[in-house]
Symmetry: C2
Subunit: 127 residues, 2 copies
């Protein structure tokens, strides 16, 4: 980790933490968002910690497991971090499916929180 | 367009403009970036208008055509716009392939420029 730029260390720690919580108990994701946070999930928008956790908690599966194929991180001019994750997930007994997700992380009161989150399944993009 | 939020109008206009220039003459993309802009192209990072245009111009194809499958846009807390594009592209006579790309747009001197750009082909993500 030591040789990597700081935004990459922070971004990849966040990503690891996010999917760990998502896969173990996604009702606990609220601490990663703030009331200004936006989520766009498969084109559906919602805003705010409460609405986001409600959306993620109500997704229709019991078990889920994410695995990451690639992740890219960049610093933004406003001292945020932009992260793009490409990976695969397995929900319940469904077939494995690809997904991509992006996050903007912002440092607020010495903690990194997610202000923007977009998720799409890789359903219709096979070339 | 009138009913859509302003960030969605700006984001989708930018996306349309970007791929139009990319597909007709990608050496002209410089006006969309600034010297602080970051590009991560298939995991390779470069920074600054000049380096980005050099990278995009040197990609090994003559003809390219993008088509967009989905696009999502969000406002960020720092008055930027975050856009995620999923689509397909055809380069020269190669088979059509999926891609995903994200942009952060920032208003500088009354123009929207791209400060952050990440691109990945959907090569290894078929589930």
């Amino acid at each position: 980790m030591g040789d990597k730029p700081i935004w990459e260390q922070i971004g990849s720690s966040f990503v690891q933490h996010y999917y760990h919580i998502f896969d173990t108990d996604r009702t606990q994701l609220g601490s990663l968002y703030i009331d200004a946070s936006c989520l766009t999930w498969e084109g559906q928008q919602c805003q705010g910690k409460t609405a986001i956790v409600e959306k993620l908690s109500s997704l229709p599966f019991q078990k889920i497991q994410h695995s990451i194929t690639s992740q890219d991180h960049q610093p933004t001019p406003d001292s945020c971090i932009l992260s793009m994750v490409v990976g695969q997930l397995k929900a319940d007994e469904d077939p494995i499916i690809g997904f991509h997700q992006i996050f903007i992380l912002k440092n607020i009161s010495d903690a990194w929180v997610c202000t923007n989150d977009m998720f799409r399944l890789a359903l219709h993009n096979y070339g």
